[in-house]
């Protein structure tokens, strides 16, 4: 087991920036069946920012996150983390499309898993897991097993697990895609608040334009496969409350992203 560096010096950590340089990814297949998922993606993400990646299905959004998390390798180009505090590896939190909770563990034990695997002492682990569970408002369910939770609650537990180790970079892969609209709004608000307080650099992959606009400071639009960056929209909302979604400004931003997406799909505006 390789302990994550400096994990217990938690709070002092700095969010990191991310630089993608000409990132490409080809999935090798038999003969002509290899698939080019990404082509020459250049992206610069500032420390502490919230970026949303949006694009049609199969445009390689998830692949970008997986490469950043070390679950996949780029075939060309590279990734650079900037402003790394310790000079060692970056601490990354990852939230998958599904909760991926261990069914035999309680919510608390699931959330504590990354700390456990990093060799954090039991007492500290319990404390930090409880804090993370509190942040996603699941405190009353800390001893509950996933089978007894609703889909939204499971996703919140997964989010708590992603942030429990005080990540410098949080990667979210369509975390709320399978939830109903109302639940999704609530979780969006919760996530936005979490980011505001904790200040980790956040990259969100989503299919939902309103979600991207509501959460991010910047929405990056990708083309269909092979994914390339088509353009981006800066989100200049003054505040993000449930009311925000009902404002004209919000709707204009949504339209702006939508037009960009349409052009990415090959429709001229």
């Amino acid at each position: 087991m390789t302990p994550l560096p400096a994990i217990s010096t938690a709070k002092a950590s700095q969010p990191i920036g991310v630089e993608l340089h000409g990132l490409g990814r080809i999935f090798a297949g038999a003969g002509e069946h290899s698939v080019e998922a990404l082509r020459a993606v250049d992206l610069s993400v500032a420390p502490g920012s919230f970026t949303a990646l949006i694009g049609p299905s199969g445009c390689g959004k998830t692949t970008i996150l997986r490469i950043l998390a070390g679950l996949d390798r780029a075939t060309s180009g590279g990734v650079e983390f900037t402003n790394g505090s310790s000079g060692g590896e970056a601490r990354i939190g990852y939230c998958f499309q599904e909760p991926r909770l261990l069914p035999w563990r309680t919510v608390g034990a699931n959330v504590a898993l990354p700390l456990e695997l990093a060799g954090v002492a039991a007492a500290e682990r319990r404390m930090r897991a409880a804090a993370a569970v509190g942040k996603v408002e699941l405190s009353g369910f800390i001893k509950t097993r996933p089978a007894a939770l609703s889909g939204g609650m499971r996703m919140r537990a997964a989010m708590a697990r992603a942030v429990v180790a005080d990540p410098q970079l949080l990667l979210l892969d369509e975390p709320f895609g399978s939830l109903d609209e109302v639940t999704r709004y609530r979780l969006d608000e919760m996530l936005r608040e979490l980011w505001r307080v904790e200040g980790f650099t956040t990259i969100l992959v989503t299919h939902s334009i309103p979600e991207a606009v509501f959460l991010a400071e910047r929405v990056v639009v990708l083309s269909p496969r092979p994914g390339r960056i088509i353009g981006e929209v800066a989100i200049d909302l003054a505040e993000r409350t449930p009311e925000t979604r009902a404002t004209d400004h919000f709707s204009r931003l949504v339209q702006q992203v939508y037009r960009l997406l349409l052009s990415a799909m090959g429709h001229e505006p």
Binding site: M1, T2, L4, A69, G70, L71, I92, Y94, F96, E98, R100, L102, P103, W104, L113, P114, E116, L117, A118, R145, P146, A147, A148
Partner: protein
């Protein structure tokens, strides 16, 4: 309350089938006038069991001890071997075919040599029970470890979990439902193994185990007693199976879907 009733209702079909089978058996013996040495009437079997109850109680106890010891041995060894094989494809490819041998080996032929190796008495019985019970535990442990959700494996990769940690925190618990299935099969087999072991290894006498009782009754054409002893051996098997089921249910009820989703 109602769940108690529902559980009773679940018990009706098997009970009905058993009752019907016994009725057909009884009718057949009566109608065709089948001599006792070929097939005893159900009543004769019960009578034989009752009149020999003390000897049979000791016999059941002896067989139960031999079978459950062999079962426990197989459970511990099986999970250990299955886990080790689950660590790497190389180990699995190298050793899994060897473990298959365990299933292929005819225990009846092997049992006498067990006595030569281990001597008369319980040791050979326990070994025979363990040998037949081992394979399903290995196979199901390995199968359970192999079928761990890839997404969860990825979660552990993300957290840079080591091999041992991954085994202990992910693969072993994830394999528990499968291991329990293996143990269920092993429970019944352990009793068969113990009986076969007793055929060649058990001490005769007032407290001889069921295997000896079955052989003696067979050779004396006491089919009533023999059927009774076989029935008691089945009860030992059911009991062991029931204990495994209960243990599995307690372990799994809160998280595994096959044990019913908690509300």
């Amino acid at each position: 309350m109602s769940s108690g009733l529902a559980r009773l209702a679940v018990a009706i079909p098997p009970v009905a089938v058993v009752v019907a089978a016994i009725a057909i058996w009884w009718l057949a013996v009566r109608t065709f006038d089948i001599p006792q040495y070929l097939l005893p009437a159900p009543g004769a079997v019960l009578e034989a069991v009752w009149s020999d109850r003390e000897r049979l109680a000791w016999a059941m106890l002896g067989t139960a001890i031999g079978a459950s010891s062999g079962f426990l041995l197989a459970a511990v060894l099986g999970v250990a071997i299955g886990s080790v094989l689950g660590l790497s494809r190389f180990l699995e490819r190298g050793f899994y075919p060897l473990t298959l041998l365990l299933q292929m080996v005819p225990l009846v032929a092997l049992a006498p040599i067990l006595v030569v190796w281990l001597g008369y008495g319980q040791r050979a019985v326990i070994a025979a029970a363990a040998i037949v019970a081992l394979f399903p535990v290995i196979a199901n442990t390995l199968g359970g470890m192999r079928s761990v959700d890839r997404d969860l494996e990825e979660l552990f990769t993300l957290c840079r979990a080591g091999t041992l940690s991954r085994w202990w925190r992910l693969r072993l618990p994830a394999a528990v439902p499968s291991i329990v299935t293996g143990l269920r099969i092993a429970a019944g087999l352990a009793v068969i193994g113990a009986i076969v072991g007793e055929f060649v290894s058990a001490y005769a006498g007032d407290r001889a185990p069921l295997g000896m009782v079955i052989v003696s009754a067979m050779k004396e054409y006491r089919t009533d007693l023999m059927f009774g002893a076989i029935g008691l051996a089945a009860i030992v098997g059911f009991a062991l199976f029931g204990i495994v089921n209960l243990g599995g249910w307690l372990l799994l009820r809160r998280w595994h879907t096959s044990a019913g989703d908690a509300g």
